[in-house]
């Protein structure tokens, strides 16, 4: 496994080499709206935007599945419905029922949340069975499994990704957007390493502009979850007019620098922060140049 910083440096280099058109980039985006307070007008807007930009899908809460399916009938935009969202703490049966209902109402893809508590208890059999229950309920439609990397160590991320693959899902996804971390390069890189080349990796959370999106693709993602899809594509049209890919100080892209005491379990916070101590690149982690 590449060290954390090596993965960041490698991805920064690869990002510069990515050749992808705005239209191709749009086709990798799940146009997402998962807030609890969005109105019908707002969801209709989401569908219209997805149609106009030819996004891969709209990623929505189950309540909106039939509405969006109707709005998007006859278009190339899919419906990705979330299940067990956002904590993944419902029972396997409930997740399966939710999935069946969503598929019946027109969902083409399911984004489920892994039971992180069971995983943390090392109850891996349960985790796999939980996912399998949903795989069966999807009726062959693609399933993405959110492992919520912000609660996991690097070793656990690798392990969880492998379990997702073993359970028969189609994608491993890093975050609900409600967890401690959004998408970070080392996490996505590690997920890709764990599942190999022929499996889906979805990066989601905090992807606000095209540089973020390109970085995630360079890290190994082949699907992007974002509520800022329009901004990503519109801003990407600026890319060809100048070189925007100025190198970042790598520590700014590292989960250890991003970890905050407020939003994550104490142990995980310490785990990430202590990684800095032994990091051969720690010289970059300073405020002054």
């Amino acid at each position: 496994m590449a060290t954390i910083m090596e993965s960041i440096l490698k991805v920064e280099q690869r990002t510069k080499e990515i050749k992808i058109s705005p239209e191709e980039l749009a086709k990798l985006i799940d146009h997402t709206k998962l807030s609890p307070y969005k109105s019908t007008k707002s969801m209709k807007g989401l569908c219209n935007e997805a149609k106009a930009y030819h996004f891969c899908s709209v990623c929505i809460n189950p309540y909106w599945t039939s509405f969006c399916a109707e709005e998007l009938k006859g278009t190339d935009v899919k419906i990705a419905t979330v299940v067990g969202f956002p904590f993944g703490q419902t029972t396997s049966k409930a997740k399966a029922l939710e999935t069946e209902g969503a598929i019946k109402e027109g969902a083409n893809e399911i984004d489920m949340v892994m039971n992180v508590a069971a995983f943390k208890d090392r109850n891996f059999d349960f985790v796999v069975e939980d996912i399998k229950a949903v795989v069966e309920a999807t009726g062959g439609n693609p399933l993405k499994v959110i492992i919520e990397t912000g609660y996991l160590t690097y070793e656990e991320i690798s392990q969880a990704s492998k379990l997702v693959k073993e359970a028969g899902a189609d994608f491993v996804k890093n975050s609900t957007g409600y967890g401690p971390f959004g998408a970070t390069i080392p996490h996505v890189f590690l997920m890709r390493e764990a599942v190999g080349p022929n499996f889906g990796v979805k990066a989601a959370g905090g992807i606000d502009e095209f540089r973020d999106a390109l970085r995630m693709i360079a890290a190994g993602a082949n699907r992007i979850g974002a509520s800022s899809g329009i901004r990503i594509i519109d801003s990407y049209r600026w890319a060809k007019h100048s070189d925007w890919l100025i190198e970042e100080i790598p520590c700014r892209l590292c989960p250890s620098r991003k970890a905050t005491f407020k939003s994550m379990p104490k142990k995980i916070f310490q785990y990430y922060k202590l990684k800095c101590v032994d990091c051969p690149y720690r010289r970059f982690n300073r405020f002054y140049e």
């Binding site: 106009a52 519109d234 801003s235 049209r237 600026w238 070189d243 925007w244 100025i246 002054y288």
Partner: protein
Amino acid sequence: MSSILRINLSTGRISEEEISQDIRQKFVGGRGLGVKIVFEEVDPLTSPLSADNKIVLAVGPMTGAAAPTAGRYEVVSKSPLTGTISDGNSGGYFGPMLKALGYEAVVLEGKSKDPIYIWAHRGDVEIRDASFVWGKNINETTEKLLGNTEKKAKVACIGPAGERRVRLACIMNDNHRAVGRGGLGAVWGSKNLKAVVVLGSENTSIADEDRFMRAVKSCRMTLDKNPYTKDSLKILGTPVLVSVMANVGILAARNFQEGHFEEVDGIRGEKYLERIFVKPYTCFGCPISCGRLTRVDGELGGGPEYETLWAFGPECGVSDLEGIVKANNLCNSLGLDTISTGSSIGCAMELSERGYLDEKIEFGDSEKMIELVRKIGMNEGIGREIGEGSKRLAERYEHPEIAMQVKGLELPGYDPRGVQGQALAYATSNRGGCHMRAYLIGPEILKVPAGVDRFKTEGKPGIVRLLQDTAAAVDCLILCRFTSLALNIEQYAELLTATTGVEYSPEEFKKVGERVWNLERLYNNRAGFKREDDLLPRRFLEVPLETGNSRGRVVKLEKMLEEYYEERGWTEKGEPKEGLLKELGIWELAH
């Protein structure tokens, strides 16, 4: 058919001229058209306050149409504050009414013996006596002129500051919208021109209505999805930036002696909302609504916007929000540029603090600050000296290093030590220290269109050039520059294509801006500006910030400047090369 209205204020002659298709295609309108006219007709060595200087009021091809924010007009002239070619544009409702007269530009030349105003309405143009409004403030002038013309008309005018040729004077329209920078109000005053009042009735013509409406729809969708244009600016207005800039340590304080203002809590956007906000103000055709109407001591006013909050706030060490609002209202009433006025007062405060200036003017004294604003506007006492701008003021007291300006124009509210790209943009700006020529705060702080490391210099010259050219092209349309926080070059090019019927690729659209930029540069070169003028005050290059989240930083200008010239295709002296001018199609115009 598009044409120019020319009014000679010396002779009273009024004439019309056609604009050739070639000129329209190359310069589009707004800033481009105005710069082209001033370049051709005003000798770069002309004294800005002489009768030989000219004023161009210009609109864009889509002004008054349904494109978002297409309600602006542009004023171009030679600046009495900087000596550069200068321009500014303003929102409100004057622009569409000017467009509705059927002209793309109005050229005002010569000088009237007596105070006059222009009354242009439905095919008729009159030069009228303005003695009854001479000496009146902006609101009174506007009210009286509407009373003497028609209520539906729109007024752009100067206040007492412009009449007295104060170099910080601006042009105001719709009572509180301003063509702020560069002292162009003084040029009006020097011609005894008090106001231009317009009432038109022609609709803006669009070449391909269907394509135009599709382009408008796409732009509106983008604006509606952008967090700045959809939420931040709509809810808090530009004062939202106070907290953002404070957090990154570039909210310059006390004449840029610090990058951190410890009393910032009193002037944040949230406090603004709680204490003085009345309702938003929306310019013509704008889905963003960043304008604010405020009330203090029963007086209703427009603003202050972020830059004004900064200029009369941290820049002068003032955290008294009500005091800042009063200074802002006074500027609006007298017709003064709030940025240059606040910053020049900040300069006077530092001169005083260091004992270079006899008059006691202390940082943080809001009452004194308000008194100084009045004196500047009325050109009285110490106000007469401060009203010359910070550069002349500091030079008078033999401490030019205290003036925080570039080419004589006071810098706005972003300390360049924490934003290297913005620093380069300030240094190379054609109208002097200005954030509107290229808003690097977008990529360096707000992450639009993409985030770049604000402390790095690598790659910045290319981005500065791109944003300068794009901004110049947008000023030709003319759309509000806040749209650039969301829209991209393709969308602007599509709007222009649909409006004019002439196919503009994104590259060609950018080239419009590049053409304007180089013509402005050439004009400034001929007016005597050299590479040495692409400079920042020594403080930014040598004295690191001590506090805030940009502490320890200075601007590394020299290396960026060299790369920038190379990027632009200029000589080492900063002059556009022959090949470039030919490529841009302005070689003949330039010679």
